[in-house]
């Protein structure tokens, strides 16, 4: 995806938006409206130079490998309301702005949540 950042890059930090617990049973027409809402919301973020990556959707299935014995367990790994359904990467001045930018996300209409996490950087600026 092409993105542009018009705001002075050095002052910006990257954040991950992790979309959780998106549960939505709906008619085809409602699904279409919901899809359009998400696309519009992300387009708006992108137009304003805040979207670094649209990110990736995750399928609800999968496996967990864990422990010394490398035990393999089938998903789901958490309650439906806690499963991560996808993520995007945005840029914002600080965590407050990153939170503010998330408020327009349609996920909140369906009982979901967004975890906003600063992405740790290798190269530190003075004062960071």
């Amino acid at each position: 995806m092409v993105y542009h950042i018009d705001i002075n890059e050095s002052n910006m930090t990257e954040f991950g938006y992790f979309y959780r617990g998106y549960e939505f049973s709906a008619s085809p027409e409602e699904m279409q409206k919901k899809t359009a809402k998400w696309m519009n919301w992300l387009k708006d973020l992108s137009d304003k130079g805040h979207l670094k990556s649209f990110g990736e959707p995750l399928q609800p299935t999968g496996k967990v490998v864990k422990g010394e014995k490398k035990q393999v367990i089938d998903g789901p790994f958490a309650e439906a309301k806690d499963v991560v359904g996808g993520f995007s990467i945005i840029v914002a001045r600080d965590i407050d702005q990153a939170v503010e930018l998330s408020l327009g996300c349609p996920i909140f209409e369906d009982g979901g949540s967004i975890e906003v996490r600063p992405i740790a950087q290798m190269e530190l600026n003075d004062g960071d």
Binding site: S27, E29, M31, F54, G85
Partner: protein, 422 residues
């Protein structure tokens, strides 16, 4: 890139029909679940990644892969049932068979066959329409309830029972079946009722009603594109839908009711739909059978043909209503005929015709029966009587649109009354 209007809904119908052909009519629920799943997957992926180059192909491929998985895994369950059982016996034939079922031509064929299956003779007309809306048009139970002004529970029950009857026949209706002419007549009747539900229906939501009309027209288009199904009746019904749909904007404004021709804003009518409707009406003028679709389309064209209200040929319209009463008598048709007579010979003659309608009691909860009486009395200058009729009509109004319209008529009577008193 934006998604086309109603894309998910339309694709739902196409995929369910295709999967039902593969899985068998008795597995229609599985077909619906797989389709719903494919749409969910599309939503979850597209909302972050944007639309693929060909959204329809993306969905079809997702559904096709899922269908292959299911057929491979549970082949035995389908062998005794599905129409395509013998093709599903080996991997050698399975993949090409499924591939073929998802080809454009086969998808259309499955949609048509599903439409004919939904009009099973053991199903009531209400059940047929509910099934068509759900399976072919991708409406949810809640959306159907909204269109019919009914409760979701009642619609759910109607659909569940209907599907049990459908499951009795394992295959989709075959278009080469000897029953085709009779079944085609049922399909046309169902599409006619579906369109009317949108056009004359009681749902207060203008958007819902426009949607229902559009869905009926989409299915109708599918039908008349098939040479075997495009007979004079089909063309006549398609013409009727186009000519009425052209006037939908004024109808939804509440002013296209039969009692207020003079208030219609003809500049809002859709010229393109009128031209298409007229062309379809020309195509319908062959054969020997004159159906109610022909006559109703002819009446609609009398209105759309007239450049202004004064140009309407009421004599011709009365004659057409006489014909319609001959083949399809009903109190509503008789009421419309009386209105046409009033336009031709004055309100007294109209009132006289209303008074001799058979089965008038069947109109007792129809707001446009007292509204018609009110309109005719109003034209006679009989304001208090007119007002009383409009008040009765107002008490029967089924939605806000009708209520607003009838309230304006009550107000008109009061305005005139006070002028007389002065």
């Amino acid at each position: 890139m934006e998604i086309e209007d109603h894309f998910f809904r339309n694709e739902f119908g196409r995929i369910v029909a295709t999967l039902t052909r593969l899985f068998g009519v008795n597995n229609i629920q599985l077909a619906e679940d797989v389709t719903q799943d494919a749409l969910c997957r599309a939503m979850e992926t597209w909302k972050l990644r944007g639309l693929p180059k060909n959204p329809s192909a993306w969905l079809m491929t997702t559904a096709k892969n899922r269908a292959l998985d299911i057929l491979r895994r549970e082949r035995r369950a389908f062998l005794s049932e599905a129409e395509l059982a013998r093709f599903l016996e080996s991997e050698w034939t399975l993949a090409p068979t499924v591939e073929e079922a998802f080809s454009a031509h086969a998808v259309t064929d499955s949609q048509l066959r599903m439409m004919f299956s939904c009009c099973h003779p053991r199903l009531s007309e209400d059940a047929q329409i509910a099934l068509i809306l759900q399976i072919l048009c991708g409406f949810s139970v809640g959306e159907i309830a909204q269109a019919f002004v009914s409760s979701p529970a009642a619609i759910e029950k109607r659909i569940t029972r209907a599907k049990k009857i459908l499951a009795g026949s394992q295959k989709l209706f075959h278009l080469a079946d000897a029953d085709l002419p009779a079944r085609l007549a049922s399909v046309l009747q169902a599409l006619y009722l579906l369109f009317n539900e949108g056009y004359h229906g009681s749902s207060p939501d203008a958007a819902v009603r426009t949607d229902v009309c559009q869905e009926a027209m989409l299915l109708m288009k599918l039908l008349i594109e098939q040479p075997a199904l495009a007979n004079p009746q089909s063309y006549a019904l398609a013409a009727l839908m186009h000519l009425n749909a052209a006037r939908l904007p004024t109808r939804l404004d509440g002013s296209d009711n039969l009692v207020s021709f003079s208030e219609q804003d003809r500049s809002l009518w859709n010229r393109d739909l009128i031209a298409k409707g007229q062309a379809l009406l020309d195509l319908s003028a062959s054969g020997t059978e004159l159906t109610k679709y022909h006559i109703e389309a002819a009446i609609a064209s009398m209105h759309t043909d007239a450049a202004q209200i004064e140009d309407i040929d009421w004599k011709q319209i009365v004659w057409l209503y006489d014909l319609l009463m001959g083949i399809h008598p009903s109190p509503v048709v008789a009421l419309n005929r009386a209105i046409a007579i009033a336009q031709l010979d004055g309100p007294e003659r109209g009132l006289q015709e209303v008074s001799v309608i058979h089965d008038l009691d069947r109109l007792s909860s129809y707001p446009f029966y007292p509204a018609t009486l009110g309109e005719l009395e109003l034209r006679r200058g009989n304001y208090p009587v007119a007002k009383a009729h409009f008040c009765t009509a107002l008490s029967l109004a089924r939605n806000t649109m009708e209520r607003n319209f009838l309230q304006r008529r009550v107000d008109a009577c009061e305005g005139n009354q006070s002028m007389v008193n002065l």
